[in-house]
Structure formats: C-alpha cells, structure tokens
Symmetry: D2
Subunit: 158 residues, 4 copies
C-alpha cells in the first residue's frame, strides 16, 4: 500500500497498550494516531497545544507549550482490520483529504510489516478519517493559522 502526500512515523507497542485479550486495546490505536499528528506538525516546526495560564514560575513556564490555537477532534471514523500485539513496530501515516476555513480532514493508517509466505508484506491494522477543528485560547472555533493551511494545501496538491 502506498500513500501519496503522506507523513509517517513508527510507534512501538508496549505492554501498557495491550489488554487481557492479548492484543492492543482498540482505543490505543487512536492515541497512536494523535501522537503521529503531533510528530507531523513538529516535523514542520509547528507546536500546536495551548498553554493556558500555568502560573509565573519561570522554571515551569519555560517548559510549557504556548500558542494561540489548538486542535480538537470533531469527528473520527475508524475501521479495525487486524490486531496489533506487544512489541509490534507499527507505521502510522497521515494524508490530507480536505481543508476548510476552521477545520481540516485527514486519513490515517496504521500498518505493520509482516512476513507472509516468506515475503515482507505491509499489512493494514486500522484506518481512520479524522476531522480536526481549530480553536482559539477561549476554546472557540477560529480560522486555521496560515502555516497550517499552507501545509495542508501543499499536501493536497502533491
């Protein structure tokens, strides 16, 4: 499977991610997807979480993210194809789908390289479509920052 216009990042499965069924608890796939959204923005030099008011201690403040916007998941649709298990090294990707004024839509895939009949094969674990809304510091919808919009538009035109 090949994904145009996509960013991908490896995620290791730890015991904390599994459940008593012996597989990765289904909710954790969605955590993995958010981690990779963060890494995608980081790779573009974009910090995207709000600090809020964490007080005046400079030692604390210097380590806090600080920006005038954040993203929240507005809608998410996920399909699970195969279980992931302890120690798996998953590949999580993002591709742009569409861009609105105050939100955008992406697809995310979780895959794993398995040896199937002696051949290394990329197997789909889960796929999702996620609509992210942009909020200002008051948690009100706001227009996408221009650097985010540019990033998505560029991905869409690839």
């Amino acid at each position: 499977m090949s994904h145009k216009n996509s960013f991908s990042f490896p995620i290791r499965v730890y015991i904390e991610d599994t459940d008593a069924g012996g597989i990765v608890y289904h909710v954790n796939h969605i955590k993995y997807m958010e981690r990779v959204r963060t890494e995608w923005l980081r790779s573009e030099g974009i910090d995207h979480y709000l600090a809020g008011d964490r007080g005046t201690d400079p030692q604390v403040a210097q380590n806090l993210p600080n920006s005038s916007f954040s993203f929240v998941v507005h809608q998410l649709q996920i399909t699970y194809h195969q279980p992931a298990v302890m120690d798996n090294l998953l590949i999580v990707s993002i591709e742009a789908v569409s861009c609105g004024a105050a939100s955008f839509v992406i697809k995310q895939h979780i895959e794993r390289d398995d040896i199937v009949d002696g051949i290394m094969t990329r197997v789909s674990i889960a796929s999702a479509e996620v609509k992210l809304a942009c909020l200002n510091a008051d948690l009100k919808p706001r227009r996408l920052p221009s650097n985010i919009r540019d990033l998505i538009q560029t991905a869409l035109s690839d």
Copy 2:
C-alpha cells in the same frame, strides 16, 4: 433528549481522564463507552471477555473471566459536541441499531446535566455508532451467542 430501548450508566471524570487542554482527552470518551457496554451486558448477567490460558493456579483462575466468545470493535464513528471536564458526572447510554449473524451495531451517547438559564438541561457531549464483531477463542468470527442475540432483538423491538 430521550433514547428508546436504551441502557444508561453514570461515569465520573477523574484527573487521569483530562489533558493539558483542561478537558477530557478525546480518546477517553471511547473508553467510557466500552465501560458502559460491559455494564450493559453485566446488567443482563452476561460476562463477555475471554480468559485464554492463564495457567493452573486456582487462586488466579478463580478470578478470571471465562467464556467462549469476546467482542471486538470493528468500526466506530464518533462526533464530539461539547468538552467534558474534571469532576463531571456523565451519563453514557446504549441503544441497539441492528443485529447481524456475527456482529451488531449500537449507538452510544455521552451526556451531562447542566444548568442552562436556570433550567436543568441534558447536554450532548459526544455520540457514536459502534459495530461490534463477535470472535471465538481463536479470534475468528463466530455467530452471536443466542442470549446476546435475544438481548439485542428485544431492544430493537422496544
């Protein structure tokens, strides 16, 4: 909002459920929904998780669930309406949507009673549609057990 044929259960928000944005981390709404699916089945006398082989220690074994089927989430679609925050007492409900041979579909709502303009009002936090597949002990699809099928069929005819 009133939901026909539905089961509901209260869930308290703890600090572990929140994130640095000051609200419940979006993934945790999906955990709440699974907890309430478990409580729904428990209220009908149905234990639904597989034990697998946990060894022969009777002190351990006596505390283990043991059944010949389990459910996995096959598809999930969620929309977030309002943030939930620390200390909220949420009401999470389930209603049956459809029933297949080896899977079924439900809707789940997360709501909260807020005082809006002096009037207690039930506010929607998030809504989801979830397709659950039934697996046997080998993690292969199997027909729904008859007690589960009866439970869903009864709910559907309400």
Copy 3:
C-alpha cells in the same frame, strides 16, 4: 483486615485496565488510588483541582474546577500482593498517617472479597504509602488549606 480512620470506595476493573498478561496493569492500581483520594475529598465537600485559565467561554468555565490549590504526589511507595483481573470489584481505602504544614501522608489499600475455602475473605491486592504536597496556582508549595488540615487531623485522632 480492618482500617481505623479510613474512607473506602469501590472500583470496578474494566478491560482497559488489564494488559496482555491477563491482569490489571500495575500502573493502574495507582490511578485507582488517586480516584479514591478524589472521592474522599468529594465526600467531605472539597474540590481540589486547579482550573488555570481556561478562557472566557461561560459554558466551558461553568464546568471547570476552580480552586487556589492542588495536590501533587511527591512520594509514593507501593507493594503488590495479588493480581487483580477483569470484572473485579475492588475496595480502595485511605487512612491518614501524618500531617505536615504543606503536605500529608496517607496509606492506601486495594482489597477484594474472595471466597477462600468457602468463606468470604478480604484479600490484599496492593498497599501504598503516598506523600501529597499542596501547591498554589503557581505550582509553588503552600500551606494546607484549613479544611484539609482539619479533615486529616480528625482522621488521625480517630
């Protein structure tokens, strides 16, 4: 086992709490303990988490905790005695150990009622000693609020 001066609260184990070993993931016992600290303070009418600045939206703000102090775990020592598993109904308790100017120490036990040789027996799952420090809105140490101090002193004199 009987605990003087103690508060206790039931905690249900869900599939999200377990790991691929088939038992509750060890870190989650510590989450359970924090939930019960919150319920202990709630039972005394004390909300204890800081809001920080969450913006000016009144619909959001009305649902936010708001106080001029919070607690952080400064030290924690835990011993695990028996595994807990899916569906267990655990009893988590707190008892006061000592009270300082800006911190206090408690013991917390996680137990479960098992049938051992035909007799209902309370079995110890885990025990911890936790030192909690009180912080102000700037995350600096501050004196314990008087209602918290009174609560702990009363528990100590029981």
Copy 4:
C-alpha cells in the same frame, strides 16, 4: 548527573500523557519507566512477556511474544522532583542495584535537558527504585533465566 552501569532511552511526552494541571500525570512516569525496561531487555535481545494461549490462528500467533517467564513489579518507590510537560523529550535510565534468585532491583531516573542560566543542564524529573519478580507461565515465582541474571550481574560489576 552520571549513572554508572546504566541504559537510557528517550521518551517523548504527548498530550495523552498530560492532565488538566498542565503537567504529565504522575502515573505516566511509571509507564515511561516500564517502556524503558522493555527497551533495555530488547537491546539485549530478550523478549520478556508471556504469550499465554492466544488460539491457533497463525497470523495472530506469529505476532505474539512467547516465552516461559514474565516480570511483574513487586515493589516500587518513586519520588517526583520537577513536573514534565507536553513535548518534553525525557531521558529515562536504568541501573542495576541488586540481584536475587527470583527477583532483582533497579533504579530508574527520568531527566530532561533544560537551559538554566544559559547552560544546558540535566534536570531530575523523577527517580524510582523498582523490585521486579520473575514469574513462570502459571504466574508462580521462578528463578531468573540465566541470560537475565548474567545481564544484571554484568551491570552490577561495571
């Protein structure tokens, strides 16, 4: 701070790890420590989680860990020094303390490189001492496998 005989591994803080106080939720430090124990054993070629009986599906089975032992945390003592926050890149280390027949003790540190007065400084976030017990497939204590014992003995003699 320099740690003799130690293994270290970087851990990135994601939004899922934080809480409404704006800092990493205290329980997650202990998850980070377990991840790094897994990476330490992986770096030595040791897989250490039990598979149990996951059924006969070869596609599932090939991805499962499989060994005749596992480790559980028997005792853990942690002290928190400084908060960690969103986007931090933490350094988590392990050093051997002592080795018994069926258990061993390690120290683990979580640190961060901060710029303090213009100078890159390694700051301590949290420190723990962890006693791990070795169990067989029946969750009974068993002697440490010889490769684990050798690994710890070598670390102790460094």
